[in-house]
Symmetry: C2
Subunit: 346 residues, 2 copies
């Protein structure tokens, strides 16, 4: 690959002029431009990005910190939706995406700090999790960045879905159907989003004079298998729940399997609700009632926040993306006996 100097020599101009031609900067005489362009075409010259970055300070690369190990990333459709949103905005701006995952070896210590202090990317989006706390970002970050998730004491804008509201809607929906014993499958420890969802459940129950009894709070790890285990435990309770709200869709699928194993028909004998509305939710039979959490929009909003700062016009933070209850085929009123019983309880 020739360099700009060689092109200059071949075209009988200075490197500065070649640079002007390449970048359409300032005036260049038409004939000169033509000559340079010809040489470029003939040689197949492509300017070195690396050299360019050093002088312009723009790499046109957006960093994305995915604080999961790769086998988790690609298994989580919701995360993929987020990536899709980010990718789409980055693409519009002519940016490429650089994936940073948590390194297995070496200084896994603080991948966020590494991403934010490296000069490879012009900006970054960080997905908040238990392991990656936006609050721990180094002080003098020089590039724009945004957080997908909850970031309280943090200079970067935060974008998250209305987890609290979504959970309130689910709980309200189940109460309205007549459910009084509602099981919940959460995780431990809980990332902020699940905290919010659980808070939504508790507040809504309380507002209706009910409470989330400890045994009704199951624990999983986001995977379908863990949801299945947790659901089996809940359903083995002396007084099993008539409805299970799994705090993500994949665990809800597990709950569905558990019910199938026990021969419980859905939704007649057990209602199940998820959270996320991943595309799989509609493919299953029966189709899952869940909360639509628009991952795509989260990604879009986060990327836009970064570009807004880059353009000197920061947006207001936090951005809360609304969620929406999608009632499909896994929720129904509880069986008669349960209704009667709960009638007395309530």
């Amino acid at each position: 690959m020739p360099t700009i100097d060689e092109i200059a020599k071949l075209a009988n101009v200075s490197p500065a002029t070649v640079s002007k031609v390449i970048n359409n900067r300032s005036y260049v005489r038409a004939t000169t431009r033509a000559r340079v362009e010809q040489v470029i075409a003939e040689t197949g010259y492509v300017p070195s990005q690396r050299a360019r970055w050093l002088s312009t300070r723009r790499s046109h690369i957006l960093g994305l910190l995915i604080p999961y190990r790769s086998d988790q990333i690609f298994a989580d459709p919701h995360l993929l939706e987020i990536m899709r949103g980010i990718e789409s905005v980055a693409d519009e701006h002519g940016y490429s995406l650089l994936l940073s995952t948590v390194r297995t070896g070496g200084e896994a210590a603080n991948p966020m700090a590494r991403l934010l202090s490296s000069d490879v990317t012009d900006g970054a989006v960080v997905v908040e999790t238990l392991d990656v706390r936006p609050e721990t970002a180094p002080a003098g970050v020089e590039k724009p960045w945004a957080v997908i998730g909850y970031a309280n004491d943090c200079a970067a804008p935060a974008i998250h879905a209305d987890d609290y509201g979504g959970a309130c809607m689910v709980t309200g929906h189940l109460l309205e159907l007549g459910h009084r014993r509602i099981g919940v499958i959460s995780s431990a420890p809980r990332p902020s989003a699940l905290d919010e969802r659980l808070r939504g459940v508790r507040d809504t129950l309380r507002a209706n004079g009910l409470d989330l009894a400890d045994p009704l709070l199951g624990v999983g790890d986001f995977s379908p298998e863990s949801g299945e285990r947790a659901a089996l435990q809940l359903l083995a309770l002396p007084e099993p729940p008539s409805a299970i709200f799994a705090l993500n869709d994949r665990m809800a699928f597990g709950a569905l399997r558990a019910a199938q194993q026990l021969g419980l028909s859905i939704p007649a004998e057990l209602s199940v609700v998820g959270f996320d509305d991943i595309s799989l939710a509609t493919l299953l039979t029966p189709a899952l009632t869940t909360v639509r959490q628009p991952g795509y929009q989260l990604g879009v909003a986060a990327a836009e926040a970064v570009f807004a700062i880059l353009d000197g016009a920061p947006l207001a933070s936090p951005v809360v993306i609304p969620t929406r209850l999608v009632v499909r085929a896994t929720t129904a009123p509880p069986r008669k006996e349960v209704m009667d019983e709960s009638g007395t309880v309530a």
Copy 2:
């Protein structure tokens, strides 16, 4: 962020010495090293990757050309498996992944050429599709790259699954069960992988004295919806097939839905087979019989091929990753009447 010169000044040494400390190169007196390291720690200095790349010529970035629009990428679990494999090997080597997608605006002309001639990445993996033909790669590519898919007249190593063998196994399995009218859902136009699968079907049928009649060759576009439509057409035939082989899992899901719509019980009244074995395949009820195409291993092999060239020890090409028939719950012998009928036919 300070530069290497400032660090040098503060530590009372030359920039060259700071560089040696940073890179553990050649000998530096212990006390000098300590002094420099202290200054680095105090200032929080992080060397500029951009500058480094320009002198070392290694960016530690691996390019990945995904020739789909972003909404397709993230909807295809098989592609995600591939990415996961690539990511994992890249990670081992301390490399990050740069995603190149087909740009919507601008010079969508030849994203492959752009990726291969840019100096941003040290190497690249290209996913072959109808739109991205490895054969059209520019002549003097200076960086190592590998193709996932079929690449005939091409310098780069190619890695693909044994599509042909997988399809042969499926067809053999269905024939063994007693099926004689087998419908196939393909796409048009067909990428190389589907060509191979279809060839496998045809060869196996022929070896058994049968043929794939034109009306039995349905056409979809990889999506579940298209699979559903194609299956409905096949099943509306005067002599409908007793088994449908969808050339990817997502279309197989569509076929399953079509059967459900028509009230056909699976597998008693219709056998369905897919290809890919995406994780969803086991979650559905009944679980899908399909061909395991190890996307993860494809990604691993492709990334390893790139690093092998980078290390000066190219691997043999093409690499064919074996496929495996996974018989689950969507295949069974055809209904009696059909068997009898076919008995006469065969």
